[in-house]
């Protein structure tokens, strides 16, 4: 994808309130302004995000495939060594498509953190109880958002209501509870109950497979940046766009391993692709929508603070107010705490120099994270444009106008006051 150095002169200036951003997108850039500090910040936070993400996807698959319907899954956050060693399909020697030059197993920084944490070497259980661990609950919250929201495109959502799926799931449930009369009896009485649980587990698998791709992408971006391979924010964005296209067709599936046997609840042959069934729903559900934070919005039915329509939900990272992070009732705090353990030194330096330095790192890195996610969203928008509309250097003004209308319709979603698009345009937003 080319990056144009000047604005195409075929069109008059945009009249949208975010005209500057629209024109930057038309020139092949990102919603985030192209400054050196922005680049440093977003690459640093991608790396800090990718390490916990490595844990998330492995544990998500572990839960979806092994823990399955365990009624008291007290140890679901302790993935087995097999899953820690599970080769990432996009990294290492054995990869189908090697995006990251590093190894296929769990990232060494992750392993070190799991062993030592911020305190010292302790058995895993003690680390867990002392809360010196990766906050897997956040990953599950992302999964819940994808599970609960409707109308995000793709066939996955509706497939889970189909008869084939129900039959597969039924078989898996019966196999899992073989020899357990209580559970089997419950299943007979209330067939939908366990079925709904299996649907949820299918989304675990979905999200796990999604993040399996994103982690090596971010690792590679960090490595390229360390080598000086990125000239600016648009470069980083383009890497993401290329990555999206490269992996778009990756199959999404849900296999369960019961007593050594592999049961396919969603076989690969159903043809669910990564882009349409995982990435786009994820962006919609987690970046745009999620659910209102208990800490800032009241769920009181008479107060009417929560919208009636799911599509109106605007509580994702793109709209979030990061400043309350650290106080009660703000779920992204868990992710921020995860990222604080893996910050690269150059990013730490930036934080030490501003605001309260080390004391309010969580907020500072939260805002950096917000910037980086605007960048990812820009990549998704550019990818969609490339797939559904026209190239940026198309000579036909009609085509360019179609592009512009697409960009403007995307920017319309950021017109509401809670959107942080305006804030990320300035460097002073920390």
């Amino acid at each position: 994808m080319t990056v144009l150095t000047s604005r195409p002169t075929l069109l008059p200036p945009s009249t949208h309130p975010f005209s500057e951003v629209v024109e930057r997108l038309e020139a092949g850039g990102s919603m985030l302004p192209d400054t050196p500090e922005n680049l440093t910040q977003i690459i640093g936070i991608y790396k800090a995000y990718a390490v916990p993400m490595d844990f998330y996807w492995r544990d998500l698959l572990y839960i979806a495939e092994r823990v399955f319907l365990n009624p008291l899954p007290a140890f679901k956050y302790f993935p087995s060594q097999e899953y820690l060693d599970l080769p990432n399909s996009y990294a290492g020697e054995s990869a189908d498509l090697r995006i990251w030059r590093g190894e296929a197993g769990a990232h060494p920084e992750l392993l070190e953190f799991m062993a030592k944490g911020e305190t010292r070497r302790m058995p895993k259980l003690l680390h867990h109880l002392w809360h010196d661990r990766i906050n897997m609950e956040f990953a599950e919250a992302c999964m819940d958002a994808m599970f609960w929201h409707q109308g995000m495109g793709g066939r996955f959502y509706d497939y889970l209501e189909s008869d084939t799926y129900k039959a597969n799931a039924d078989r898996a449930i019966k196999a899992y509870f073989k020899g357990n009369p209580l559970m089997l009896g419950l299943h007979k009485l209330f067939p939908e109950m366990f079925l709904e649980q299996v649907r949820k587990l299918s989304y675990y698998a979905n999200l796990g497979l999604f993040w399996e791709v994103m982690a090596p992408v971010f690792f590679e971006m960090s490595d390229i940046y360390d080598e000086g391979g990125f000239a600016g924010v648009p470069d980083a964005m383009n890497f993401l766009v290329n990555g999206i296209f490269a992996v778009a067709g990756r199959p999404i599936y849900h296999h369960v391993y019961i007593d050594g046997e592999c049961l396919e609840i969603i076989p690969k042959s159903e043809g669910f692709t990564w882009l349409y069934e995982a990435a786009l729903p994820y962006v919609e559900a987690v970046f745009y929508r999620t659910a209102p934070f208990r800490g800032t919005k009241s769920y009181n039915a008479q107060a009417g603070q929560v919208p009636d329509v799911q599509a109106d939900f605007h509580y994702g990272i793109l709209y979030a107010d990061v400043f309350p992070v650290g106080s009660a009732g703000i779920p992204p705090t868990l992710l921020m705490q995860d990222m604080v353990h893996f910050l690269p030194p150059y990013l730490k330096e930036i934080y030490l120099k501003h605001r309260r330095g080390e004391e309010d790192q969580l907020i500072q890195l939260g805002i950096t994270f917000q910037r980086s996610m605007y960048n990812v969203t820009s990549a998704v928008i550019q990818a969609l444009r490339a797939a559904l509309f026209y190239p940026l250097d198309d000579p036909d003004p009609e085509h360019l106008l179609a592009n512009r209308r697409f960009f403007e319709s995307q920017m319309d979603r950021f017109l509401r006051p809670e959107a942080r698009l305006r804030d990320v345009q300035t460097q002073d937003y920390r």
Binding site: H131, W148, M193, A301, Q302, S327, A328, G329, L334
Partner: protein
Amino acid sequence: MTVPFFETAWLIPLYPLLGGLLSFLWSPGLISQSGPRPAGYLNLLMNGLAFGHGLLAWIGCSGRSLSFSWTWLSTAGLTINFDATIDRSVLIAMTMICGVHLFAQVYAIGYLEMDWGWPRFFGSLNLFEAGLCALVLTDSLFFSYVVLELLTLGTYLIVGTWYNQSLVIKGARDAFLTKRVGDLVLLAGVIALLPLAGSWNFNDLAVWAAQAEPSPVLTLILIALVAGPMGKCAQIPLHLWLDEAMEGPLPSTILRSSVVVAGGAWVLLRLQPLLAISPIAQAFLVVVGGTTALVGALIALAQVDIKRALSFLVSSWFGLLFMAVGCGAVDAAWHMLLIYPLPMALLLMAVGTVITSNVTQDLTQLGGLWSRRPLTGLAFLVGAAGLVALPPLAGFGALNQLAGSLFDGPAPAALLAVLLLTNALISAGLVRIFRRIWGGTPSVFTIRSAEVLWLMVLPTMVGAGMVLHLPVLLAPTEFGAINWSPMAVPLLASTLLGGALTWQQLPHPLDGLQHWLAADLHTETFYRRTVVGLVVVLAAASRWVDRRLVDGFSDRSGGLTMEGARRLSYSTSGRVQGYALTVLVGVLLMGVWFLVRQLALAPSPLHF
């Protein structure tokens, strides 16, 4: 082996207190590299210890009773002692408090898994528990007041857990102020009672009350004493705070609605011998209780928010309890108090699992969950059945006993009508909630709804089991036998009728008043226009007075003085002779004064 547990049962409030204080270690800036969850685990552990100790003490109690006293303040004739008694009923109460807390805290670990505010929340929960255990231990009216006041502060802190949210801070403030008003009136009563009764010990007061004569002052004092429990149990007109306190996290709602209000009722029951002195005070209780029972249930039926639909039922149920105390049906009231906490906690736990997974508290947005969430639905039904008069569950025994006492008491027709109607309405309210959430067809918000984390489901299921077994547990006690009173069948009928009516989704009985009821009788507006308005007007008036009159006077007098000083300074001519003359005159005057004084001191027929 269990004997030492009984003797040391006074330690039970101290475990959760220690846990709550240790939570301070996770204050901002102290332990921050790792997360705050250990604060919750620690508090849970302390709670478990307290529960275990209580259980073992109860088992080893074997009908004994232990009293002790510790002097807290002694000055100028006022001696305030922390009197305490440990006996079986106290141990049952403490075990129940710790048990419900245990459920709620395990539940909270699941419910709040995405929350970072654990130290404050769990610490406050444990402080609540310590306070409640101390409340049931103590024999002193004064210390009951102290604990109630501390619980008021605790409510403010706990409802304010999510303080970034505007409705939360409003709710916390209103809860604090309403309960504080109730507590201050209670304090006035407590202070006024001492010169009359000579003691604050409940046992001494009961002895005194047996031969005390009613008088207008005493009646006022007794009504004042009732104000504290009225505030705690959210009786009209102090009921608004329970609605607003629903903004706090659900686990705190579980505790507040089940054991904290029970604490208020506990105090009321211990005051009952005093209240029996004055028929007016008793009538007051009956009127307040009966009104709240009916109106509360009607409001609950009109609510759209799940938590509020349940919270007004709390007010309603305790209205019945107030009525019982007012009529002197003390045994029935104790029975009701005993069987209340578990079913209400269960109801809230079941509803909470739905709220977390479906991102809404609005009854109109839910529905059709039975097929996917049957377990929690069953738990809700069990909880509902445990609360209304449905044999063989425990609620029936209590209400039946109450009906029997009312039948033999004064004004049986009116009071029994209130009881039956309230029972029907409570049943209607609960069935309505069930139908809206679990019945019907799935809505957009409920199409995807899987059973939630085991940490939430497990306490719910265990709770359901306990509620089902309550009659069995109560069998060896004096509340075990069911004496089929003549009102038993009408009672059962009212339950079934109320449930059936809402099952059919008939409109609200007072449909025209739906809005008025849904807005909680516009109590808030009423408060704002009267009480709050009065205070605001008075405050503004005082401010005006201070600005205009006092400040003005000071300004003017200051101005005058400065003027005077300036004028005087004109007299500073700078000429030495002028100064010398002034000095001379001054010395002369002083000399005259001395002379006169000497004369005055000398023995002289002159007198001043």
